[in-house]
C-alpha cells in the first residue's frame, strides 16, 4: 500500500495526509457515479469510508453575478441552465420574483399553463432521477424506459416553446406562447399512459429484492440532520417532514388544487426513492385537475415598457424537482438587480453527505449519493 500513499493530493479538499492503514480515494470529477463533475475525496479504510468530502465548483458559471449586471429579461434564459432537468421551475421562480416586485398581474390561463408545464417538468425530472439512480445501482434498463416516457413530455414542451431542455417559456406576466389542442390533448393522453407506466415500474423495479436490500435502512438522513443542513425536497420528505413549498407557502394557483404530499418517515435511500415515485402520481393528479379547469383568455399580462423594479428586497420560492428553489432579489430601482441570490436545493441536499456517509461502504455511499438526485450545475450555479 505504500506506493499508493506516496501520491500527493493538492488542491480542493482539506483531506491531505492519511493516517496509517487508510488511503485517499479520489472519486471524480470524471467518475461514472458523479453524474457530472462532482468530486469527492474519500478517506477509506479498505472499502469503508471514514470521511468523505465533496469538492465542488468545477462547473461554477457565476449565474448570480450575471444576474446583477444584465437586465431582468436578459437574465431570464440563464435560469433554465441552472438545473437543466427542472428548467420550468427555475424560470417560474425568476419570473415570479420579478412579478411580485413589479406587481404584475398574471392572467389566470397563464397560471394554469404554468402549473401544467411545471408538473410535467416534475415528472420528467423525477424520471431522469429515478433512471439514473437505478443505473447507479447497476440496473441499466430502467433509465431507457424513463427516457422513453420523458421523450413524450419533451415532445409536448417542444411543441409549445421550441426547446427540449432549456426552455425559456415563461415571460414576465405570463407565458410566451398559448397552448393549443395538440398540447392539451397530448397531455390528456399522457396522464393515463403514465399511470400505467408507473404501475409497471412499481412491479418491475420497486419490488425488486436486490434493489430493496440495497436501499432499505441504508444511508439514513433523519429529519434533524436535514434541518441542520437545510436539505429540502424529496430528501426532507423522505425523512418524514411533510414540507412542500407548494403547500407551505403556496405560489401561483397551487392552493386551488387537491394533492397529497408523499412523506416517508424512514429517512433511508428507499424512502427518498418512494417519495419521488409517489410524487409523480400526485403530479398527474394536479395535471388532471388543471386540464379540467383551464379557462380561456389572454396569456400575457400588462407590462411596463421598461422593466425597473422598485427598490426593495424580494423573495420567491418554488418547489423545484429537487427541493426548494428560492430567488432573493435586492433591487435599487435600476433595470438590473443589485444582488441576486439563488438558493438551490442540490447544494443543501449534498451538504449532509459528509456526515451521512461516514462509516459506510463505498457502494452504499454511492447509492446514497444517487438517492439525493444531484444535478451538479445546480450545486455550483
Amino acid at each position: 500500500m505504500s506506493a499508493l500513499k506516496e501520491i500527493k493530493y493538492t488542491g480542493g479538499g482539506s483531506i491531505q495526509a492519511p493516517p496509517d492503514e487508510t488511503f485517499i480515494l479520489n472519486l471524480g470529477p470524471q467518475h461514472p457515479a458523479a453524474h457530472g463533475v462532482l468530486r469527492i475525496l474519500m478517506e477509506m479504510d479498505g472499502e469503508w469510508i471514514t470521511r468523505a468530502e465533496p469538492v465542488i465548483g468545477y462547473i461554477h458559471r457565476m449565474h448570480e453575478k450575471m444576474g446583477e449586471n444584465r437586465m431582468y429579461a436578459k437574465f431570464l434564459p440563464n435560469t433554465s441552465r441552472i438545473d437543466y432537468l427542472a428548467a420550468m421551475h427555475y424560470t417560474q421562480a425568476f419570473v415570479g420574483v420579478v412579478e411580485r416586485a413589479a406587481k404584475i398581474e398574471v392572467p389566470l390561463r397563464a397560471e394554469y399553463i404554468r402549473v401544467i408545464t411545471g408538473e410535467l417538468q416534475r415528472i420528467s425530472s423525477h424520471l431522469v432521477g429515478w433512471g439514473a439512480f437505478v443505473m447507479d445501482l447497476g440496473g441499466f434498463t430502467p433509465i431507457l424506459y424513463a427516457f422513453e416516457d420523458r421523450e413524450k413530455i419533451l415532445d409536448l414542451f417542444e411543441h409549445i416553446c421550441g426547446a427540449r431542455l432549456t426552455y425559456c417559456y415563461h415571460r414576465f406576466g405570463g407565458v410566451c406562447n398559448d397552448v393549443d389542442d395538440f398540447f392539451l390533448s397530448g397531455t390528456r393522453e399522457f396522464v393515463p399512459y403514465m399511470r400505467e407506466r408507473l404501475k409497471m415500474y412499481r412491479k418491475l423495479v420497486t419490488g425488486n429484492i436486490i434493489l430493496r436490500k440495497r436501499l432499505e435502512g441504508i444511508g439514513i438522513m433523519d429529519a434533524e440532520m436535514c434541518r441542520r443542513y437545510g436539505a429540502t425536497g424529496p430528501v426532507l420528505r423522505g425523512a418524514g417532514v411533510p414540507y412542500d413549498v407548494r403547500r407551505a407557502e403556496p405560489y401561483s394557483i397551487y392552493s386551488q388544487f387537491d394533492f397529497e404530499i408523499p412523506c416517508y418517515p424512514q429517512g433511508d435511500s428507499m424512502a427518498r426513492y418512494l417519495v419521488r415515485m409517489d410524487e409523480m402520481e400526485q403530479s398527474l393528479r394536479i395535471i388532471e385537475q388543471a386540464l379540467a379547469k383551464i379557462p380561456e383568455g389572454p396569456i400575457l399580462g400588462k407590462l411596463p415598457r421598461v422593466l425597473k423594479l422598485p427598490a426593495g428586497d424580494y423573495c420567491y420560492a418554488v418547489e423545484a424537482g429537487r427541493g426548494r428553489f428560492m430567488i432573493r432579489l435586492v433591487s435599487d430601482g435600476k433595470d438590473s438587480a443589485y444582488r441576486l441570490k439563488l438558493r438551490t436545493p442540490c447544494f443543501s441536499n449534498l451538504s449532509p453527505f459528509e456526515e451521512a456517509s461516514r462509516g459506510m461502504i463505498l457502494p452504499d455511499a454511492l447509492a446514497l449519493l444517487g438517492s439525493l438526485d444531484l444535478v451538479i450545475p445546480d450545486i455550483d450555479r
Binding site: L4, F23, G138, I210, P363
Partner: protein, 357 residues
Amino acid sequence: MIEFLTSEPVLAILRLVIYLVAILAFVGLNAAYLVLAERKGAGWFQRRPGPVEVGPWGILQPIADGLKLISKQTIVPPGTDGLLFRIAPAMVLAPALMCLVTIPFGDTVMGMPLVGRNIDVGLLMVFSFGSINVFAIMLGGWASRNKYAVISAARIVSQNVAYEIPMLLVVVTMMMITGTLNLQEVVTQQAGGFWNWNVFRGVWTMTNPLVPVTFVIFFICMLAETNRAPFDMAEAESELIAGAFTEYAGFSWGLFFMGEYANIVVGCSMATVLFLGGWQSPIGTVPASWGALGSLLGVGFFFAKMYALIFVVIWIRWTFPRTQFYGLLNLSWKILIPTSLFTLLLTGALLTIRSLL
C-alpha cells in the same frame, strides 16, 4: 506411410491440433459474437435497436471492434508491475481454453468422441483450471497500482472464495449421482429424453430429489464465478469505473473481455453437460443408424442448450441491479453453502440406503 499416419498416437496428436485450432477459433468467434448478442439483447430489453451501423443488422460490429482493439497501443502505465500487468490478460484466457478441451460437444463420429481429450478426470480438470481465472484478475488489479483496481482485486478474491465452495459441493453431489468424472460418460448416462437428464432424473429415481435446487445453485455460482451481473463486483462501473481493468487499454483489455466470455461459455457448457443432458436429444434417443448425421444433430442440441443458458445470463444482466458486496457474501455463506451441504448429505444418505436395499 499411410499406416504411420493412421496409427493411434499420430491420430491422437492430429486430433488434438485440430481441436486446439478449432477451440481457439470457437472462443474468438464466441467472444466477438457474444458481445454482439449481448449488445443486441440489451437493445431489445431496453426498447432500442442495438448496433446497426456496421454491416447489415450490425453483423460486422465485432470485427470492427476487434480491429480497433488490435490497432490500439497497449499502454503499461508507469509505476505498474510490468510483468504481472502483461501476464494477467493471458492468464484469464488460457485456463478457459484448457477447460474447453475436455468438454464433449457431441457423440462419437467414426469412432472418435467429439471432445479434445476424453480424459477420466475431466470434471476435476475443468474446475481446477476454472479457478485460475480469479488469480489472473487479482494479479491484474494488483499490478495496476490503481486504487479502484486494488479494491476490485480484494473484492474478487473474497467473492470467488465464497462461491467456489457451494459450486464444488454441488459438483461433488453430481459426481456422487453420476459416479464418474468423465464428462463423456456423464452425458452418455443421460440418454433417452429430457426426463433422463440429471436435473430431472434425480427427482424420480430418488437419488436426490433436490437436483433442481442444485442446478439453481450451480447457475448462481457460475454467474458469480464469471463476474456477471448481478454479481459483477469486480467491474462495477458505477462504483469502481472498470474495476481491475481500469488501467488496461487496447488488446490486453480485449483479452480480459474474451476471457470473460470464454468463461461464460465454459460455465454454461458445464451446466449443460452436468444437468441438461449435454448433446442428448430432449425426446427419445437419436437412432444409432443415423450415424454422423445423428452426431451432428447432437452437437446442435448441445449448442442449443448452451446458448439458451447464455441468453439467460444476458437476460439477468440487463434486468437486475447489482447486489451489494456484503449481501453477496451473505447469500453464499448463509444460504448457498448450507443448502448445497444439505443436498450433498441427502444424496449420500439416499445412495447408501439404495445400496443397502
